[in-house]
C-alpha cells in the first residue's frame, strides 16, 4: 500500500499527488515513470515521475482525468492509500555535453518536461522553454518551469494567456531566427510531438520526444507498448519512453492509442453513474444527519 501525502489541484481535472514511495524515490531519474493500480481489479496505468525527493522518500505525479482510472484516482485524498505503485521504470534521459536546450511542453506534457529541465538547469545548461495549453486555466506548473528556465514562452490556443496559438508557432520562429540548440525536447499529445519533430528535422537538431503508448506490465513482458522507431519494433516501457522524434512512426502510435476507445467509454460511463449515486447518497446521508 502506498500513501498519498499531498494532493493539489493544478487546473480543472489536472491533479498532483505527492506519494510516499521511498524505494522509487531513491532510484528515480528524469525521464522515468511509474505504473500504479488503485485497487484490486483496477487497471495498471503509467504516469511520469514529475518530481522526486530521495531524502524524504517522495515521488510526485501529475495526472489529467481523462478516463475511468484517472478519474477514480482524482477522487482520492491526501491520507488515502493506493494498492500498487511500481517504479522507476523506463530509461532515464541524459544530456552529457549539452550547452543549450529547448524544452517544449504541451498540455499535460509540461509535467514530464519539468524534471528534465530541472536536471539540465542544475547542470548549468542554458534552458529555453515553451509551454502551452488550450486555455489559461489549463496551463500547469508555470512557476516551476519558469524557475528552471533562462527564458520561457507561454502559448494558449485561445489566446487567453501569452501568445495566441500553438507552441509550434514559437518553435518555428526561434528556428527561423537562427537560434541554435544542442537538443530540443518535445512532450505533449502525439500530434504535437509529430508536428514539432517535423519542424525541427530540416534544421538537423536532435529532437527528443516521450511516447505514451498503452502499457500493461511496464517490464518488457507483454509487448503491448510497442512502437516503431527507425523501422524497428521497440518496447516503450523498457527501450523508452524517450525516443528520437525524427524516427518515430507517430501515425501508428496515434492509431494504436485508440484500440480500446469503446471499452474506455463504457468504463467511464459506469464509473460516472456509480460515482454520482455515491455522491447523492452522501448528500442524502448528510441531510439525514442534519435532520438529527
Amino acid at each position: 500500500m502506498f500513501k498519498i501525502l499531498e494532493k493539489r489541484e493544478l487546473a480543472p481535472s489536472i491533479k498532483l499527488f505527492v506519494m510516499e514511495a521511498p524505494l522509487v524515490a531513491k532510484k528515480a531519474r528524469p525521464g522515468q515513470f511509474v505504473i500504479l493500480r488503485i485497487k484490486e481489479g483496477g487497471e495498471r496505468i503509467p504516469l511520469t515521475i514529475a518530481d522526486y525527493d530521495a531524502q524524504n522518500g517522495t515521488v510526485t505525479i501529475v495526472f489529467q482525468e481523462v478516463g475511468k482510472t484517472t478519474r477514480e484516482l482524482g477522487t482520492l485524498e491526501a491520507g488515502d492509500y493506493i494498492e500498487d505503485f511500481v517504479g522507476p521504470l523506463g530509461v532515464p534521459v541524459e544530456f552529457p555535453n549539452h550547452k543549450k536546450v529547448l524544452g517544449i511542453g504541451g498540455g499535460l506534457g509540461i509535467a514530464p518536461l519539468y524534471p528534465k529541465l530541472k536536471m539540465l538547469h542544475q547542470q548549468g545548461v542554458e534552458v529555453v522553454s515553451i509551454i502551452g495549453a488550450r486555455t489559461a486555466e489549463l496551463l500547469i506548473l508555470e512557476e516551476e518551469i519558469k524557475a528552471v528556465s533562462d527564458r520561457m514562452y507561454i502559448c494558449t490556443d485561445d489566446g487567453s494567456k501569452g501568445r495566441h496559438g500553438f507552441v509550434t508557432v514559437v518553435l518555428k520562429e526561434l528556428l527561423e531566427q537562427g537560434e541554435k540548440f544542442d537538443e530540443i525536447i518535445i512532450i505533449g499529445p502525439p500530434i504535437l510531438m509529430k508536428i514539432g519533430s517535423e519542424i525541427t528535422k530540416p534544421y538537423g537538431i536532435p529532437t527528443m520526444v516521450s511516447l505514451n503508448p498503452i502499457m500493461v506490465d511496464g517490464t518488457g513482458m507483454c509487448g503491448g507498448c510497442r512502437v516503431t522507431v527507425d523501422g524497428e519494433i521497440k518496447f516503450a516501457c523498457v527501450d523508452g519512453p524517450a525516443f528520437d522524434g525524427h524516427k518515430v512512426d507517430f501515425d501508428e502510435l496515434i492509431k494504436r492509442l485508440a484500440t480500446y476507445k469503446e471499452e474506455e467509454k463504457i468504463s467511464l460511463e459506469r464509473f460516472n453513474e456509480a460515482h454520482e449515486c455515491k455522491l447523492i447518497n452522501k448528500i442524502e446521508g448528510a441531510d439525514k444527519d442534519a435532520v438529527k
Binding site: K27, C222, A258, E263, I266
Partner: protein, 466 residues
Amino acid sequence: MPLNRSKKKTPMPTQKPEVRRRNFNEVALGYSEEEAVSEAQRCLQCKKTGCVEGCPVQVQIPQFIKRIAERDFEGAIKIIKETNSLPAICGRVCPQEAQCEKNCVLGKVGEPVAIGRLERFAADWERTKGIRPPVIPKKLGKKVAIIGSGPAGLTCAGDLAKLGYDVTIFEALHKPGGVLVYGIPEFRLPKIIVEQEVKFIQQLGVEIKTNMVMGKVLTIDDLFEMGYEAVFISTGAGLPKFMGIPGENYLGVYSANEFLTRINLMKAYSFPNTDTPIKVGKKVAVIGGGNVAMDAARSALRMGADEVHIVYRRSEEEMPARKEEVENAKEEGIIFDFLTNPVRIIGNENGWVKGIECIRMELGEPDASGRRRPVPIMGSEFVMDIDTVVIAIGTGPNPLLTKTTEGLELTKHGYIAVDEEGRTSREGVWAGGDIVTGSATVILAMGAGKKAARSIHEYLQNKKWR
C-alpha cells in the same frame, strides 16, 4: 491389492465441451475417491520403475499410488510432497506423456497409468481436508533473496525456508506466481490453487515483496549491501517474440503474453467489472503450436470468438503442446491449420487487422532439433479473413535484470550461464528455471529451484564458492 486390468485410463470427468468453451471454470474436474482407487489399482508396482526415471523430480510413483489403492490418501500426498512441493499444479500441467507416463510399462500394451491425475487427486484431497500449517524451523539468521516468484523461485524459497533461512522473494508484478498466474488460464489451473501454494510458502516464513522490478528498484549489488548472503535469479523467459512480418503492429494483434496477461492477471474477462479491457473479435488466429498457443486459442473462444484457428507451420506430430490440451482444444471446436505459415498481416484503413496472408508448407529434412523442417510451397499463398491475431511463437530472456548486473555471464542468446549446481559466474548468485533453460516446463523450473536451494545451503554452511 486387487488389480484393475483395464487397458485404458479411468476417464476423468470433465465439463462438456459445448458448455466449457464459453466459461473460464476448470475443464477437468478430477477423480472421485472411487475413480482414483480404481485407477491406482492399474499400477503393477514394478521393481524397475521407468515412471520414476521419467519424472524430473523423481516422485516416488509406485509408492504413492499404492497408498491411494489402499485408500491411505494422507500417506500418498506425504510421499509426493517429499520430492514435489507443488503437486496440485504439476498434476494438472506437467506434460506427463513426455515424462512419467512416457515410460510406464502399461503404455506398451495400452494406456499408461494416469499418474498425473492421481497426483492431482492426492493434492486436491489434501486441500479439501485443509492443509496443515507447516512446522516452522529454527531460524539460522541468514538472509537469502529470490528474484521472481514463478515455480522456480517459489520452490527454492520453500526449500530454504524449511532449512531455517530468512527468505525474501522480490516480484516485479503485483501478484506472485509467475506464468502460473499471468499465463496459464483459470480453466486449466485455477488461481486459487496457486494462491494456496503461495500462502503455504508464506506460512513457512517467506516474505514476498511485490512491485519490485529488480534491476530498476534494486540491483543485485544493493541486495548484498542489504545483508542478503545469496541470491537466486528465477525471472523466467518473459520477453515476447514477434515474427518480423509486415503488419504486426496493426490494432488487434497481440503477443500471447499480452493477450493472456490481460485475461488472467488483469481479469479482462470480467470487464467492465474489472478495469482492464481486451478486444477479441469474431475470427481469431493464434500463431504457434505450443501450450501457450493452445491457452490463447481456448481463451479467445471463451471470450466469445465465433471461430478460432491455430496456425502452425509444422504438422500435428511436431506440436509441442500437451496432448491432453490439444484434444481438449479440438473438442471445443478450435480449428487447426497445420503446415501453414503467415507471411503478412493485412489491415484496414483505421489500422485494424482484417486478414492474414499465409503460405502452405511441406516437411523437408530434419533440422537441428530433429524435427522435420517446414519449407514453403511456392505459389501457395492465400488470405484468411481474421480480425484478431495472437502471436505465440515463443519468448526469450528479459534483459531488464541481467543488463544491470555486472559480472554475470550470459549465453549467446542472453540466458544466464550456470554450472550443474545452478551457480552463475558471480559468487553468491544462482539462477534457474526458464531464465537459464529458455521456455521449458513447470516441473523443470521447480527442479532447478530445488537444486539451487541445496547448493545455496551448502555454500552458506561453509562459505566455499566452488
